[in-house]
Point group: C2
Chain length 129, copies 2
């Protein structure tokens, strides 16, 4: 039986269901980007980054998915402006089914640099940089 | 009860037990670096990279560890030349208890760049670049 939290998460990502995505994010969620050390705090900024990344990634696919209680590790592959990347989402849930910590790691270096550049552009366009 | 494979792996890393490390690596292990897309194949190169990285990392610590059959995801933190990094080891074992695939992802971008530079130096010193 699929984990209901994972089903909701897949719905948010693959159906680009923004209402579901917002509901899943705790108001004070901490978002740890693959590019920067310091996390961004709060539902609004995490929502902005996640919807932006979902939009930037091409052919986004999940592979291995590990679940241990409220801690998940989800392996993915995607394209970024023609470059291939692999990555992992490390997700911590609270007991109410909300995401409180979301950490992303991406390899290789040139794909991560491309992703950081693309996200930076979107931040600028949104007046956030 | 701790997973015996993980106990062996921890021994290889934290006691810098090179015999154990070599025994754990399948002769045709595929090593996926956080910096480059293309994997390196074979026990010798994987052994060289892993011992080099173990030597470069400061204050290496594992955090969350997910195990699903022969697939593991191990979260870590470390320092690289004064920069803090987070990372994940994605390890695939065969049924004989050997590592056949080892993939590493590291964040953030500046820590990964620093790690890639340090490893590049060691490759040069070893005449591998």
């Amino acid at each position: 039986m699929a984990d209901p939290r994972l089903q909701q998460w897949h719905k948010a990502v693959f159906e680009q269901d923004q209402d579901t995505l917002r509901e899943l994010l705790h108001p004070e969620v901490e978002f740890y980007s693959p590019a920067f050390w310091k996390p961004k705090s709060g539902q609004d900024i995490a929502f902005f980054i996640l919807t932006t990344v979902i939009d930037i990634f091409e052919d986004f696919t999940y592979h291995r998915e590990w679940i241990d209680g409220n801690e998940m590790a989800l392996e993915f592959s995607a394209g970024v402006n023609g470059k291939s990347v692999k990555g992992i989402d490390l997700i911590r849930w609270n007991d109410a089914g909300q995401i409180t910590h979301f950490e992303v790691m991406v390899r290789p270096l040139n794909g991560l640099a491309q992703l950081a550049e693309q996200i930076g552009e979107r931040f600028k366009q949104a007046g956030l940089l």
